[in-house]
């Protein structure tokens, strides 16, 4: 009887989403185990072992896991899953890819993007682009779920905590899939999912160049991550991994600044839990104003540089 968390990391450190998953895992009041799989993961396993509330770390280290495939990670989770009551990950591209596969292998249902854990088998999760919250109960003995990271606080690190680290082998790896390569979008900005401030732009920015010229100085001044609407991404103004919304990343920073964004539900689904929301739009009836704390009815090309300036 324990909770197993699939850790997510970048090869060097844990993603903040994993700390948040550890907080979510405390709801069952069972020992929390963390699976760290990858290549040269010793430091990451140690980092996981120091998180408050972690009882055990399962470390899997192999060269083939340098670029982990869903097929292999799912098999590891099934093997490590044995007597676990809950298998849990953050609802990130990584977690979304792996956990449904795990659930099907174990013949149980899965709950995606859980925002509240009500009871041991009862959850609240958004449906219809977050316009409705459903309370759902599972009948399965084993619970498999992804949690919305921004709905849970990050567990703290306690240097005194040193959970035991046990090693697990990779038995077989998939013959169905080969990893060919990746394109990493380099950015000097903080990671979108965990940034304290997010500055997002819409299609109205007009070009990739203007997107940068107008928004980057403001983001820099606020040490903010950049975000974008789907319309801005589709137009090629911004990279795909900074899309905020129903089908992109869900964020809940301290401050979210929406620049030239209309406020479609598919976009607000990804940002309306932000603590403070500011919107700049020249349309006095823009829907984004309905989810904003403060708004300016103004031209973005004048207002954003003025705001950057006013921040000193």
């Amino acid at each position: 009887m324990s909770v197993l968390i699939l850790a997510e990391h970048d090869g060097h450190t844990l993603k903040q989403a994993t700390y948040r998953a550890v907080t979510a895992a405390q709801h069952w009041q069972l020992p929390v185990h963390v699976l760290v799989a990858g290549h040269t993961t010793a430091a990451i396993a140690q980092e996981a072992a120091a998180i408050q509330g972690v009882a055990q770390v399962i470390q899997v280290d192999a060269a083939v896991l340098a670029h982990p495939l869903a097929e292999d990670i799912a098999d590891l989770l099934v093997r490590a899953g044995g007597d676990h009551t809950v298998i849990l990950a953050a609802h990130t591209a990584f977690g979304k890819n792996v956990l449904p596969r795990v659930a099907a292998l174990l013949d149980v249902a899965m709950l995606s993007d859980v925002v509240t854990i009500v009871g041991p088998k009862t959850y609240v999760r958004p449906i219809y682009a977050g316009s409705i919250y459903a309370t759902v109960e599972s009948i399965d003995a084993l619970q498999v779920l992804t949690i919305r990271a921004s709905s849970f606080a990050a567990a703290s690190v306690s240097p005194g905590n040193a959970a035991p680290i046990v090693m697990m082998d990779v038995s077989t790896t998939t013959a169905h899939v080969r990893w060919l390569g990746q394109v990493h979008n380099v950015s000097e900005r903080p990671e979108l999912a965990s940034a304290r401030v997010v500055v997002s732009g819409g299609r109205s920015l007009g070009s990739a160049e203007k997107f940068q010229v107008v928004l980057a100085p403001l983001a820099e001044k606020l040490d903010a991550a950049l975000g974008a609407t789907r319309a801005a991404v589709d137009a090629g103004f911004a990279p795909n991994d900074i899309q905020v919304g129903q089908t992109g990343t869900v964020v809940a920073p301290e401050l979210y600044i929406a620049v030239g964004i209309s406020g479609a539900v598919q976009h607000t689904a990804g940002m309306k839990d932000s603590k403070v929301i500011v919107a700049i739009n020249h349309d006095a009836d823009a829907a984004i104003f309905q989810v904003s704390d403060y708004y300016l009815v103004a031209d973005l090309f004048e207002t954003v540089p003025a705001l950057t300036e006013a921040l000193g």
Binding site: A104, Y128, S131, I132, Y133, T249, Y294
Partner: protein, 250 residues
């Protein structure tokens, strides 16, 4: 090569979905229905692969009540060659759907199965991965590009931080992201023609598969709402509010 595309009938994305007064479920009676947007990308990609000469047949499949035929007609009108309806009035959830789709895959023996990456009603995003697991094949999720090679497909996946490219040995399951393509418009004559194409119907019970729901919806509610926003007149006022009232900037 043969492609199977799974499509779902959902409430149109422009509809603001309401709750039933007793909060037991959403009220979608009479709401405009249509094909799940991501599934439209899935069909479009199958058709493009066919137009490029890689594919001999594109088969669309859906599961549910007889009314779900309309999304199959849509797929046929876009250019799918055949369509299959697996009829059931059981409340379908991703695991049940994956199990039924597995039975269809075993009958049809497609080389590639394309699904949308998520449905915009339950927003679960599970069915493709579950189907791949049950079939014991490789998966390529959230794809924005696909290329056919000897015995395999190469897919570009949209992941946190950028993109990733994988080679999947066929048969394989892939799930479409919106940026995979721009789906073609369905022209009226094609819709008329699609009415004449046959839809093969199976009864889910005949598959002898347990597709019953594992998740019970207890209640639905509106999410917490935000207070109406305050209109400000200048950036100075905004900076002041953020600094002294909300204390979110230094």
């Amino acid at each position: 090569m043969k492609i199977l595309v799974a499509v779902k009938r959902v409430v149109d994305y422009n509809v603001k979905v309401r709750l039933k007064p007793d909060g037991s479920d959403v009220d979608i009676a009479g709401a405009k229905m249509g094909i799940n947007p991501f599934d439209e990308n899935a069909i479009e990609e199958a058709l493009r692969l066919k137009e490029r000469g890689h594919v001999s047949e594109v088969v669309a499949v859906t599961l549910g009540m007889a009314a779900c035929q309309d999304v199959l007609r849509h797929a046929l009108a876009m250019g799918a060659d055949r369509a299959i309806l697996v009829e059931t009035d059981v409340l379908l959830q991703p695991l049940g759907i994956a199990r039924l789709l597995k039975a269809v895959v075993e009958r049809e023996q497609p080389d590639l199965i394309i699904l949308g990456k998520q449905a915009i009603d339950d927003d679960a995003g599970q069915t493709g991965q579950m189907l791949a697991a049950l079939l014991g094949v490789g998966q390529g999720t959230f794809i924005s590009a696909v290329d056919v090679h000897e015995g395999e497909v190469h897919v570009t996946r949209e992941v946190d931080g950028g993109t990733e490219t994988l080679a999947l040995r066929l048969p394989a399951v892939v799930t479409a992201d919106l940026r995979l393509n721009e789906p073609r418009y369905v022209k009226l004559p094609n819709l008329m023609m699609a009415k004449k194409k046959p839809i093969q119907t199976y009864q889910a019970v005949d598959f002898g598969i347990d597709a019953s729901p594992h998740l019970k919806q207890l209640t639905v509610a509106n999410p917490p709402t935000r207070k109406p926003g305050i209109k400000l007149d200048s950036v100075q006022e905004l900076v002041e509010k953020l600094r002294t009232e909300k204390k979110v900037i230094g």
